[in-house]
């Protein structure tokens, strides 16, 4: 199954999002982003199963949490 990575930026914001999603029973991993996916050095994001993408987008959008999408 394909995974999707959203770039969030900071580690603590990524963890916060992980906890928010876990409350909605969506389980994601906090990951350090690959260098090619960062613009200015180290950065963090969340990785999750493709099947959850619409739910994740909906929850983040509802809460005004910004992210960048990487496949």
């Amino acid at each position: 199954m394909k995974n999707i990575v959203f770039s969030i930026g900071t580690l603590n914001e990524s963890i916060k999002i992980k906890k928010i999603l876990a409350k909605e029973r969506i389980f994601v991993a906090v990951v350090k982003l690959e260098e090619r996916r960062t613009r200015n050095g180290c950065s963090y994001g969340i990785e999750f199963a493709e099947k959850d993408v619409y739910s994740v987008v909906h929850i983040l959008t509802t809460r005004n949490i910004s992210y960048n999408t990487y496949l």
Partner: protein, 369 residues
């Protein structure tokens, strides 16, 4: 003879067994460097630190865990808050009961002609005392919620009300109140709350924190943050902006377990137990002759001095009997001037919920001798 430890306002000595056991287990299990690497040990450590921010938020009724910034102690937290949140040229109100962790950063800024300081009395009607000292230049109040010498309290709701009414920056030192009494940041607006972990929250030494409800005007230290490596400046988001360098994961983990314990016991029960201890001590101290009690004890803190005796003499006598108290000036010079104990100092007895009634009775019995 077992030791009776009554110096808990400095550091709680006796930690709850489960806090010790869980902290030791955490240390044995191992930890990585949070926010530096992508491997599971680093990530687990980062999550533990986040969970500690989260439990602090719950205890303080504060909604955003990521505005909680960790430091090594309350002194560091206060230095950062005072030096990054108070604007140049401000007149700052503070009280006579302050610890040097509030006074010295303020004095340092005053010496550099960056601020001026005005003192208000912590006795009587606090609201009127503060209002009487307000001027057009007043922009901030920095003060402790509880005196580390007498346990006297400055009502947070009054400070918060004045902050809103006069549009002031409010920075509070909650070191002697945190985990001894409920602090509600939802009901009481505060700009920065600073405190230590190693007192009421039973953590190891080496961790304190600030709740930043406002954005500091600048960083205080700069360095590695694990983010935006190629930028010259620190990241813009809290907490990373104000947390340069490696955090003390073991100390923060012990704080997490300490706070879990506090949640389990309940703040009401903690407050009631300390109130009961305070009554036991107050009732007996009143009956002693040749004693100057600085103020009726609160939050488990009592200070006194015998006539014609240095406080250190009394403390040494008690130590010989296995009772650890603190004599001298407790890093709080102005309250000793206020109570006219600058020559003798005072004997401070400071309790924790880990103390027992039996210990208090033994102490009182030694004092009577």
């Amino acid at each position: 003879m077992s030791i009776i430890y009554f110096d808990n306002a400095a550091t709680t000595f006796k930690k709850p067994k489960e806090v010790l056991a869980k902290t030791i287990h955490y240390l044995k299990k191992g930890y990585g460097n949070a926010g530096r690497s992508g491997h599971y040990l680093s990530m687990q450590t980062a999550e533990m630190i986040y969970d500690t921010r989260d439990i602090i938020s719950q205890i303080l009724h504060y909604e955003n865990p990521n505005r909680i910034v960790f430091y090594h102690n309350a002194t560091e937290a206060l230095n950062v808050a005072i030096k990054t949140c108070i604007p140049e040229g401000a007149n700052v109100l503070t009280s006579y009961m302050e610890h040097n962790s509030v006074l010295r950063p303020l004095y340092s800024m005053e010496a550099e002609r960056r601020i001026s300081i005005t003192f208000f009395s912590h006795k009587g009607n606090i609201e009127e005392n503060i209002k009487n000292k307000l001027s057009d230049q007043t922009q901030a109040i920095v003060c402790s919620l509880v005196s580390n010498v007498t346990g006297e309290e400055i009502d947070l709701s009054i400070l918060s009300k004045l902050k809103k009414e006069y549009n002031l920056i409010l920075i509070v030192d909650a070191s002697q109140m945190f985990c001894h009494k409920e602090i509600n940041l939802k009901e009481n607006e505060v700009d920065v709350l600073c405190t230590a972990g190693h007192k009421g929250a039973f953590s190891m030494q080496g961790v304190g924190f600030s709740v930043f409800n406002i954005d500091p005007s600048r960083t205080y230290i700069e360095g590695g943050s694990g983010l935006e490596t190629f930028s010259h400046g620190m990241p813009s988001a809290l907490p990373e902006r104000m947390e340069a360098g490696t955090l003390s994961a073991p100390a923060i983990a012990s704080l997490f377990f300490g706070l879990k314990y506090v949640q389990k016991i309940g703040m009401d029960k903690i407050e009631r137990k300390l109130d009961y201890f305070d009554q036991l001590i107050d009732n007996e101290l009143e009956l002693l002759s040749d004693i100057h009690v600085l103020s009726k004890g609160k939050h488990g803190i009592h200070s006194f001095v015998f006539s014609n005796e240095m406080s250190s003499t009394t403390a040494k006598h008690l130590e010989k009997k296995g009772i650890c108290v603190r004599s001298g000036y407790h890093c709080a010079p102005l309250i000793h001037k206020f109570y006219k104990t600058e020559t003798t100092g005072a004997v401070r007895v400071s309790l924790s919920i880990m103390n027992t009634e039996k210990e208090i009775k033994r102490f009182l019995s030694e004092l009577k001798k």
